[in-house]
């Protein structure tokens, strides 16, 4: 079952990547990142079944970080929205020199 | 005099003082009031100059090795130390730097009108950097100072320069930095090679001196070092940053650039390039290449100079021509050639520095540097014209001036090594007249027609104070170069011995790669004390 879980995680990760690449709504892109994180979590869990409980610990940490990230990220999106009145990332190109 | 200097322990602290005092001065200038910045900077540079004069007596002309040596570990794990010393090559460079800085600062009193504090602070920073380059005997330290000099000059050109100052400043920076980086790579290679032999990391000059390298390695490292120094000198195809930098730089910037910064390249040839890579430096192809580039510099830039409409650009090109003699003299690898090269360096520092100052004075008066805008001003500015004439004659090497001594010795040394090269280079005396005299004529002679020229003021007292010592030096060195030559001689001998002797050593260690031979004597029997280095045909040794 390990291989299947890993393949599943790979597919989920790829879907998340694809979503991040093609979506322009910042919140959805954020969701895609969460999806990628979960894909990774899945593989951690799968590995932990065989290699020890530490894998689950990492998932725990990842979740915590994801929570923090969500809080900050969403706060950023809110303040950006206040400024630009949109969450479409095509409008955020200040990085371009 | 010597006992007086000894009594104050002059030799103990002088190099450190010369190195760091300008930096202290820089801080003082930055903290002081804007209106007094120039006076403060000038007085400070005078103090440095005054201190440096003691070297003239304190320096022992009988010794060819380093003097006033002192070394303090700095970054011990890399073998970097703060090591400074002086020998016959750097002695005059240091004194020239102190002199030029003082003169340039005095010469910029009227020229620099904005951000005075910053400007004079940068000038003093430059002095520290340049003196550091000349007295460092730790390669790491040397490299640090070498790069430090870039910064003030970059800002001096970029902030106080003419119309195209940004372009010129960037060009100057990029050219020099490009070469420096290659040098850094080569330096690190050398460092690791030395470490592999001795087992201890060290950037000390002596430690890197006798690293046994194959000819192949030497040629590559030589190339990297040589490129860095050639750009600085500058040697022919790398010279185009110079006219631009000179034309755009403010007068004091040009003066320091011509008088001192260019010398860093030639100094690098003498101090590092030749002793480090003796086999490469004596490789016939290398010597021929460098000499040909030197000759192209002499003749070609003289031609280019002759048709410049801008007087300052003309003088800038003549710098390249003069430095061609230096390159020629150095690569001749004869006592005469090296001494001549050094004399040309000193003389060029004084005469071209003075020329730039004079052109700056012209610019202050008329706000133009175009030769065509002048004419006949010898009538309204006779003293100015006199000073210019003497300086110009020094520049073209009239006997009795310092220019001649250097050029003649350099040519003589070259002739001993490569007669044909020397003969071609001799035509430089004609072309020197060809570029300088028409300019002098168009500016100072001919009819005084333009009304704005008729009210040009003659030299002021301050300008007289600037030019007086310079003109006096030109003639003094021209008439009595003996004291200068005497102080250089042992060092020059040591360099040549190091190069020729070591070339053999390096070869002896790598006989399978002994592609070239430099002496008809056997390499193994003759380590070190070989004085003559007559290049013979390849294959003599096999």
């Amino acid at each position: 079952m390990l291989t299947e879980a890993l393949v599943l995680s790979a597919f989920l990760f790829a879907v998340g990547t694809f979503g991040f690449l093609v979506r322009r709504n910042a919140i959805i892109m954020f969701l895609c990142i969460e999806l990628q994180l979960n894909a990774v979590n899945l593989s951690f869990v799968a590995f932990s079944r065989y290699l020890g409980i530490e894998g689950q610990l990492y998932v725990f940490f990842v979740m915590t970080v994801a929570a923090a990230e969500a809080a900050v990220g969403l706060a950023i999106i809110i303040s950006i929205f206040r400024h630009f009145e949109t969450v479409n990332v095509n409008n955020f190109n200040l990085l371009k020199w | 005099m010597l006992s007086l200097l000894d009594s104050i322990g002059y030799g103990e602290w002088i190099l450190h003082a010369l190195l760091w005092l300008p930096l202290v001065g820089m801080v003082l200038v930055l903290m002081g009031p804007e209106a007094r910045a120039k006076q403060l900077a000038f007085v400070w540079s005078l103090v440095v100059l005054g201190l440096s004069l003691g070297l003239w007596w304190a320096f022992d002309p009988g010794i060819g090795t380093f003097q006033f040596e002192s070394s303090i570990p700095w970054i011990a794990s890399w073998g970097v130390s703060y090591a400074v010393a002086l020998d016959g090559i750097s002695l005059f460079m240091v004194m020239l730097t102190a002199f030029t800085t003082a003169v340039a600062i005095l010469g910029s009193f009227n020229y620099i009108k904005k951000h005075e504090r910053a400007f004079y602070a940068l000038m003093l920073l430059m002095e520290t950097g340049v003196i550091g380059v000349f007295i460092s005997i730790d390669l790491f330290l040397f490299y640090v100072f070498w790069e430090i000099t870039l910064i003030p000059m970059y800002f001096i050109i970029g902030v106080w320069g003419g119309e195209r100052r940004i372009y010129s400043a960037v060009k100057f920076f990029l050219f020099t930095a490009f070469g420096s980086l290659l040098m850094l790579v080569a330096l690190l290679y050398l460092f690791f090679a030395a470490q592999a032999i001795s087992g201890e990391p060290s950037f000390a000059y002596q430690a890197l001196l006798n690293v046994p390298l194959s000819l192949q390695e030497q040629l590559w490292l030589f190339g990297a070092f040589c490129l860095a120094f050639s750009i600085k000198v500058p040697v022919f195809p790398f010279h185009t940053w110079l006219p631009d930098a000179h034309v755009e730089a403010p007068t004091p910037g040009s003066v320091v650039l011509a008088a001192v910064l260019l010398k860093m390249g030639a100094y690098g040839f003498l101090r590092f390039l030749l002793p480090f890579f003796p086999a490469a430096a004596q490789h016939p192809t290398v010597v021929t290449l460098m000499m040909v580039l030197g000759i192209i510099g002499i003749i070609y830039t003289a031609w280019v100079a002759a048709v410049q409409p801008d007087a300052k650009k003309l003088v800038a090109y003549t710098s390249v021509a003069h430095m061609g003699f230096v390159v020629l003299g150095i690569f001749a690898l004869t006592v005469n050639g090296l001494q001549g090269g050094l004399m040309v360096m000193i003389s060029h520092g004084i005469s071209t520095g003075a020329l730039f100052l004079l052109l700056g004075m012209m610019y202050e008066r008329r706000h133009t540097r175009l030769i065509a805008d002048f004419g006949g001003i010898g009538r309204v500015t006779p003293w100015f014209a006199t000073a210019f004439m003497i300086t110009a004659l020094t520049s073209i090497g009239l006997p009795g001036t310092s220019g001649f001594v250097g050029e003649f010795l350099a040519l003589l040394g070259t002739f001993q090594a490569r007669p044909v090269m020397a003969i071609i280079a001799c035509s430089g005396v004609i072309f020197a007249a060809y570029y300088m005299l028409p300019m002098v004529q168009k500016v100072f002679f001919n009819a005084l027609e333009k009304p704005e020229n008729k009210t040009m003021p003659d030299l002021s007292r301050r300008e007289l104070v600037i030019l007086g010592p310079m003109v006096a030096l030109m003639i003094w060195i021209g008439v009595q170069p003996g004291p200068f030559l005497r102080r250089m001689e042992p060092t020059v001998h040591a360099v040549i011995e190091q190069v020729t002797g070591n070339g053999l050593q390096a070869q002896g260690g790598h006989e399978e790669e002994a592609l070239v031979t430099f002496s008809s004597t056997s390499p193994l029997e003759n380590e070190g004390g070989e004085e003559e280095s007559s290049p013979t045909h390849p294959g003599d040794e096999e």
Partner: protein, 728 residues
């Protein structure tokens, strides 16, 4: 540092090489350093005055007014002191030279006396001292230089008296004498070179003395640059002498004594190296002494004040080449090709310049070409190995050509005043505007005729003896090696001598005889010069007559031409210079045969002397008649010359030729170097590299869209690539 210098000069240095005592008294020089230092002192003093005066005049000019220093008939101190300082220092130097000369006369001197002052340049392998060499040759030259200089300085007091730059003029002139004395007294090639270039520089500033005139400034510049071409030869010759080439290892010294002592053994007779050295030295000599191909600067040099022309461009500086060949006689004797080339160039120049002199109308131009031609004679002399004869002609020429120039100066001075008074803008130097001046300038007229007879080679004037001896010696070598060439030289010299008589007579007739062409009003303002100018003329005239009697061969002095030995004629100079030229003469005699005592087509010395003076006299008389018969119009009304006369008038178009094949191509090459190579290729490559970097940067910036998706895509691609690399 100057003080110790002066001190050491007064201390008389110390002798390196003591005089060889053979018999008689040893030569003890008297303050030789002072001979050089005095003119330098004069330069410094006059220079200071000049700086002070020029500052005043510049201040006035800036205020909008020309300052006249002589306003109200008063001379400011800056313009009165040079009258005493300028000629004074030279006079003193001349006195010291005279003392030394008498001492040397009384001594028995076989080796040069060297006075060492300080070491000038010294590297490990090379040393040159600031040292003076006193021997017979330098003594003769010192006499000529200081003597003629003194006379001309005195003349200048009158000629330049009204010039605003009076102190500047004297400072330059003093400086020139300083360098000229360095040239002739220096004990090594390098020191000679110092003087060599120094006089070139002085010539430059003196030709361009009136520097606000572009033509004059141009002439000065031309003189300097052409001279430098010659200097190149000298320089390379020195390098060769010191370091050698090929099998010849060099002398390792540039001291005359050392080089000449070693030369006969070190150099192969007729070898390539010595020939090269002599030819290079010859190149230097042709530059300084205005010989083909580098003579072109001298006619233009007439732009300078006339006393300058007399001093520098007739009497002293231009003879430096002759002096140099005589000084290096040992080398030239060792290189027969070098010597022959010297003589051939001399002969060609003598003939060539003489023909140009026939068609010139400017009085100074005629004299300039005459000078070139006479220098050619000297070159023949030293070239064929008759060094004493060459030096002899140098001396007599210094006297009579100096006189001719000063006379011309007096004429011009007078013409200038006359034309100035009447506001006539005619050329005061054009002989077509003169005519009949003998009434107004009697002293000038007589003295100049004496000089003319001297230069034409008529017995018993100075030029007769010197020129005749040169021609004779050229002929006397026709019997030996390369006889054909020497015969040719002999014939060319004879022809040139005859043409000399023609153009000089033409000059005198056009200037002093015939109808006055200055105009009525102007003629009333023509008058003889003040005594300060005429006395020098008379002094020189005296020597023009009797100066030649110091070197008369016995064949002549014992004949009727020498009053059967009754006239005070001696062969003194020849014997005097023997220690200098002796070695060379021996080498020449040993290898190429001695001089034969007969002309190429037979006949002895006396016969040819009589023939030549007779011919010269006839030529003078005939051309006086012919030129007197011409109808000469003032310059403004004269037609343009046509035909061959135009070619002569245009000086064979040599200047134009040089301009076409050297000057213009050089300027074009320079422009090409600048615009195409430097700004185009070299800088283009550098800027191109910069632009390449910039283009790469621009290309890279295309990926910086600012859109998160794009960055993420690249990130993903990167991950993919890395994964791919790790995986496969």
């Amino acid at each position: 540092m100057t003080l110790p210098l002066v001190y050491s000069a007064l201390q008389e240095g110390h002798e390196i090489l003591a005089a060889h005592e053979v018999a008689g008294e040893a030569f003890e020089p008297f303050l030789p350093g002072l001979v050089i230092l005095l003119p330098l002192l004069g330069f410094i003093l006059n220079g200071a005055l000049a700086l002070a005066a020029s500052r005043r005049s510049a201040d006035a000019l800036r205020g909008g007014a020309e300052l006249d220093f002589f306003e109200g008939g008063k001379r400011p101190w800056t313009h009165s002191l040079p009258t005493w300082i300028g000629p004074g220092v030279i006079g003193l130097a001349f006195l010291i030279v005279l003392v030394n000369f008498t001492r040397m006369l009384g001594a028995d001197l076989h080796e040069p006396v060297i006075r060492h002052y300080w070491t000038w340049m010294s590297t490990g392998a090379f040393q040159v001292d600031a040292a003076l060499q006193l021997d017979q040759l330098s003594m003769v030259m010192m006499l000529v230089v200081t003597g003629v200089s003194f006379i001309i300085h005195v003349f200048s007091v009158g000629y330049m008296g009204e010039d605003q730059g009076y102190p500047r003029y004297f400072s330059y002139l003093n400086l020139f004498v300083f360098f000229m004395l360095t040239l002739v007294m220096g004990a090594s090639f390098l020191l000679m070179f110092v003087g060599w270039e120094g006089v070139g520089f002085c010539s430059y500033i003196l030709i361009g003395y009136w520097f606000t005139d572009k033509a004059k400034a141009d002439s000065g510049k031309k003189a300097f640059i052409v001279n430098r071409i010659g200097d190149l030869g000298f320089l390379v010759a020195m390098l060769l002498l010191f370091a050698g080439f090929g099998a010849f290892a060099g002398f390792g010294t540039l001291n005359f004594v050392g080089v000449f002592a070693a030369a006969p053994d070190a150099l192969v007779y007729g070898g390539g190296v010595v020939t090269a050295i002599t030819l290079l030295l010859l190149l230097g000599a042709t530059g300084k002494s205005a010989q083909i191909p580098l003579y072109v600067w001298l006619p233009d040099a007439m732009a300078g004040p006339t006393p300058v022309s007399a001093l520098i461009h007739a009497a002293t500086m231009v003879t430096a080449g002759v002096y140099m060949v005589a000084r290096t006689s040992v080398l030239f004797a060792l290189a027969p090709v070098g010597g022959l080339t010297v003589a051939l160039i001399g002969a060609t120049t003598a003939l060539f310049a003489a023909t140009i002199g026939l068609a010139q109308n400017d009085i100074k131009k005629v004299l300039a070409y005459s000078t070139i031609s006479q220098l050619g004679f000297m070159f023949i002399g030293v070239g064929v190995g008759a060094y004493a004869a060459g030096i002899f002609h140098l001396m007599t020429h210094a006297v009579f050509k100096g006189l001719l120039f000063l006379g011309a100066g007096a004429v011009i001075h007078s013409m200038h005043h006359a034309l100035h008074h009447t506001h006539n803008d005619a050329d005061p130097q054009d002989m077509r505007n003169m005519g009949g001046l003998r009434k107004f300038l009697p002293i000038t007229w007589i003295t100049m005729w004496l000089a003319t007879l001297a230069i034409a080679g008529i017995w018993p004037f100075a030029g007769f003896f010197s020129k005749d001896e040169i021609i004779w010696m050229a002929g006397a070598r026709a019997g030996g090696v390369s006889g054909g060439w020497y015969t040719l030289i002999w014939i060319m010299a004879l022809a040139a001598a005859m043409i000399t008589a023609v153009y000089m007579t033409r000059l005198m007739i056009m200037t002093f005889h015939g109808k006055n062409r200055t105009g009525q009003e102007e003629a009333r303002h023509l008058h003889e010069s003040p005594w300060v100018m005429t006395v020098p003329l008379m002094v020189l005239a005296f020597f023009s007559i009797f100066g030649g009697w110091i070197n008369v061969p016995h064949a002549i002095s014992d004949s009727f031409l020498g009053g059967f030995g009754l006239l005070p004629m001696t062969e003194w100079l020849h014997e005097w210079l023997h220690p200098i030229a002796g070695v060379a003469t021996e080498i020449q005699a040993a290898n190429a045969g001695a001089f034969v005592d007969r002309a190429p087509f037979g006949g002895g010395e006396l016969l040819w002397a009589v023939l030549s003076t007779g011919a010269a006299l006839i030529v003078v008389l005939v051309s006086a008649r012919v030129v007197g018969g011409f109808k000469i119009l003032p310059a403004g009304e004269s037609p343009e010359p046509v035909g061959f006369k135009k070619v002569l008038f245009m000086k064979y178009y040599v200047d134009e030729f040089y301009d076409r094949i050297i000057v213009q191509p050089l300027i074009r090459a320079s422009r090409f170097s600048w615009k195409v190579i430097d700004a185009g290729i070299v800088d283009g490559v550098a800027n191109g590299l910069g632009n390449l970097a910039r283009a790469l940067g621009w290309f890279g910036s295309l990926f910086q869209t600012g859109s998160v998706n794009t960055y993420a895509l690249f990130l993903a691609i990167g991950v993919l690539v890395i994964l791919g690399v790790v995986a496969f």
